[in-house]
Point group: D2
Chain length 375, copies 4
């Protein structure tokens, strides 16, 4: 693991996610660039002292040299520290699991795509919400044509933890997320907007080709957007709206997705993640529950407990890790990967950066901008 | 009553609304321009035969001449039939209660404003959702500064009854609503978008000065928009999103309003109209219920039953009628109107048309357009 | 109208309910037994002075003598003042609409049943919740066998307005409701428990034959129960639970009904009265909405506005009045009453008193008691 | 681990729960009494062949003899196979984590209590719902007096998976749960009623001293109750209702708890487990969320992710394992166990059996029965 030392939130999440299905063992880490903290953090986690590194380059080199070296590395650092470690480990022959957004610029993301391709290694991006069973269910329903031709895609991700200038009061997570040097050009659009964007694309299997964005930094002195109001247009003729805000008081972590076609509509909300609603035109709304009646095999495959026993955030995150483990095993054994194993990768990373850059551009020009999805 | 003959939905709603608080008596009508239907409809409602008119001009003339003539007229015709009757009755000295949008063009709306002013009569526009107690409550909370400086205004009005080409199958309500000659330039933005726009303005007491609209007619052959994705900007720096759709399957009549400031957020949804949520920053969300704890006097004034006994659409509509009755009494008696009596009027009508026209313009230019609110 | 003078809550509700569908005209009343208040209250409502009575006996006599006398009377007094006026008006040839519970004792209720029968007049009991469209829908679904053989009936009616000793602080409504002389033997079971009991019986078309009740007066000094925990047994083998409380803090007027059979379950809650859920075994839950897909003709018949436009308490109450008007017209004209017109009457009144008396008896004996439903 | 071989649901849950916080390592098991299945199941889980036992007695003996033997055993067998293994492992010096209900009879539970006491080992009963953060929060609020003197305890646990005779169609979980020889005297009351009973007692810190139960087997041929309607009385004067059903169609795993005192009411439901509502009398309802504003330290201590990121069933279960790990460490090191570490144990097991036996007795006598809680 790169990053995720003492006090870091997302590192702990990755570790639980990796552990949940018993498919990974944590044996080495560059948990901090501060040697002392790296060692202390590693010991907390039961790492051997000689595998607690203060530099990812050293770690890559040493682990390469060991017979019992690591097979895959998880990168959980701030955005600007994704590209370097990812390149290093991929080139050293390791698989990489990386937090999102994949890099701080689209150019870097494209460069990384080339590195991934040349390496022959797996690159997994933890767009964790795609691991939720009901999200898989919705994706299948869209693909099966249950909605018909898509018309509306309404997606929102709202929080309130940046309502005040948390970055000025020593909150580390707030500091780097509002710093262009560490986050890239996107504030809220990078941190949560990319999640919303990815989720909609995952479910609909359509990516908007144009957008119009109105970005705002409501908090005085804040250097990146803390909210984004965005209109989307799809090549298919569908239209969308995406709202991301980190200053919407009362929203702890509200993520909602609603998709309407000419045959049916589906709706899902994070607060009730174990269910979705489905309304065929002219019929009563159905509540489809995880592992309940009406829920299909792809949702069941990523569920761990029966219907009615709520699953949550960690389980969804763990599914990304489990899918990655299956994919790694397939690489290791040369076996064909089962077609229902799905994990976000470099393609989704590029789409995320294309989204951020188009939004920033559109905000500057006040006009519709094209997403540059090629690579 | 002008319009509202047999088979018309909104006419019946107006009549119940007028009756609910026992402040009106229906005594005359031009319920249809077809003489036979006008008479039959009038008899159904207990009107005397000689007060069942087939022409609003004749009605205005004859009722003016009667000692026991009407005092106020309700206009419930399609949009293109608002201006004529409104002018005629205002000029004949009657008060007017009129359905929304007020006219089919902004120019007409402005012309009507002059007529209203010269007439000295009341002009009441039935933006009925402003009659809901919790909407009054939200408006008061914003005015009292509970939210601080506003940041986000998220408003939606979604339906699904135009999912298919209902206008081609003889549905009268669908026919005129999708016909530019009878509806004006706006389809869904006129029919429901103006409600959403008005509701947000009523609660926030701010009107956006610019907007960017993406209008769509999803149903082949439809001549007006059936959905509208709109970004809003306010002079105060607040930002907004407005979504209106008549093709969002599973939404019968979903109207939601969420407003976030730098001190608190409030949320309201039509499906649970007797409550709202209020979250001061850093505190738990409060559920404020109609006539319950935390609900203030302006909500109580427009409530009819105790907390926990649901009120609905008709009661909200009736409040517009009751407020109008109070205002009419004040005109009649020369008494000062109580300051808490509120009803939408010609100013709100102009704002609605300014909204429609800016949206149509923005959709054509793909750029931010200014709302022309002057009059 | 008998009772319902200035300051009375339920009288105003009855008047709006009567007015909503334009089927009644209020022309006379004994609104108070205090002559001065009776006159003032009547004038408020636009009654002629000579039809503002201070005695229901005088009113019955005088109105009988008038050519333009009333046709039906509404009794909205406290429970102990139901029997006398009902008998007097029935015997004078008037139809009667009466608040619930019908009387203060089962013996009185049975006596009244005889009077009703001999009079040939209508007796309508305002168990208003049976007027809700989705309640009609549920009743039809049970009758159509959608649920199969019934197993569980779970019904609740919870409030919190008697949490403290409101009866000692001058709250008139609280005073008589906690006074055995005016309320009868039941406190919460009479006031709200009978509503819950009636609602369950209306929907299921089954009346329990035995019950076991645990009644409590939580507030020191209170003379009647303020809550009731009750188990129900049905002749069919179904089992039930009924909870009524007026001291359950946070419940303004929570009424819920859930019925489960061997084929399906249905659920309804007052807070979302315009919808119900329906789950056939092994299928996803359906949300059936008033006038929406899946909602049948009997719900539509008692709806006034389209799907998605919420109806509320007053509309449900008004339906009782409208059904009564239809029934009165049938009596007047000798026409056969349409089979889908339904109103609660003396039979439901007797069942309510049988329920109260069995509950009081069971609470005293700590054993299962039989409901004495014969008459 | 004893039980939990291939195909068993709850064994897998225990293993994830143990793994989630990285406090346990699974090294041995008697996963089945069938030697072949025991070996195959163990290999699936990565156990060494020589630690895959087909007999818990052999396992206890061999593991005692090993230097690297286990420290704690988890018993996840059907109810009738709890006592034997528990006694054996406790007497062999191991800590025991055991599924509920603790035994099949109250006598056995009391006997086990003696064994636990003599052994000096820990006995942890997996009443997993007590691990939920908001349940901890509610418990603290009751203890802090936020509710005042308790009045109503309303608790429900409803499922529908036994709607039909699943026990006759080869569903193993249904078979033993409806077999008195393997389940004990309670069907639904043992399987889910004890959870509801325990949850209410955990939150309120009060145990009812009397109950009146109406048990039913709705499915023809079923030998144990599949539903239970129960009234509760507390020594404090509080009253309660408990409903358990495994035939309530539409309820996948509905667990709800509502507690009302003379100062406030609180409500919680499994479907929205990350929040609870709190209504102080005369104030608006508050929604308190896990790790959000208004949520206290004891909820935070058992949370793993920030507010708004849903936690679920596995996390609550894992908390029981984590608390047990803390307690085991305290025993191992002789340190004092932190006062906020809470886990259900033999006392809760006895209460559960006392509840079952009183319910069965009450059902037979149709009268109030006393819970025999002494030991």
């Amino acid at each position: 693991m790169i990053g995720g030392g003492q006090g870091a939130f997302i590192g702990g999440v990755h570790r639980i996610a990796a552990r949940l299905d018993n498919r990974y063992e944590l044996v080495a880490g560059a948990l901090s660039s501060n040697a002392e903290k790296a060692l202390a953090s590693g010991r907390d986690l039961g790492l051997a002292d000689d595998r607690c590194y203060a530099s990812f380059e050293v770690m890559a080199a040493r682990e390469s040299a060991r017979e019992d070296g690591i097979e895959v590395v998880a990168i959980v650092t701030p955005n600007h520290m994704h590209f370097g470690p990812a390149r290093t480990f991929l080139e050293a022959g390791f698989h990489v699991i990386c937090d999102k957004p994949v890099t701080t610029t689209l150019d870097e993301a494209r460069a990384l795509a080339g590195i991934v391709e040349r390496s022959g290694r797996l690159f997994v991006l933890t767009h964790n919400y795609t691991g939720y069973p009901m999200i898989r269910q919705m994706r299948d329903m869209v693909a099966a044509g249950a909605l018909g031709k898509l018309r509306h895609v309404q997606v929102e991700y709202a929080q309130d933890w940046l309502t005040e200038a948390a970055e000025s009061t020593g909150a580390k997570g707030a500091e780097w997320r509002t710093d262009p040097a560490r986050s890239g050009a996107g504030g809220s659009i990078g941190d949560i907007g990319t999640h919303a964007f990815n989720l909609a694309a995952f479910v609909t299997r359509e990516t908007p080709d144009r957008l119009l964005a109105d970005l705002t930094s409501f908090v005085p002195g804040r250097r990146l957007d803390d909210s984004a109001n965005i209109l989307l247009r799809y090549a298919s003729g569908a239209k969308g709206m995406l709202w991301a805000s980190q200053v919407a008081i009362g929203n702890e972590n509200t993520l909602t997705l609603r998709v309407y076609g000419d045959k049916a509509g589906i709706e899902w909300s994070h607060a009730t993640l174990n269910q979705m609603s489905y309304t065929p035109y002219g019929e009563p709304t159905r509540i489809i529950t995880r592992n309940g009646a009406g829920s299909g095999p792809s949702a069941a495959r990523v569920s761990r407990v029966p219907a009615g026993h709520p699953e949550g955030y960690l389980e969804g995150f763990a599914t990304i890790y489990r899918e990655a483990a299956d994919a790694i095993m397939a690489v290791r054994t040369g076996a064909k990967l089962a077609s229902d194993v799905i994990y976000p990768g470099i393609r989704e990373g590029i789409a995320g950066l294309a989204f951020i850059e188009a939004a920033v551009r559109s905000n500057a020009t006040s006009s519709w901008e094209t997403l540059n999805l090629q690579w």
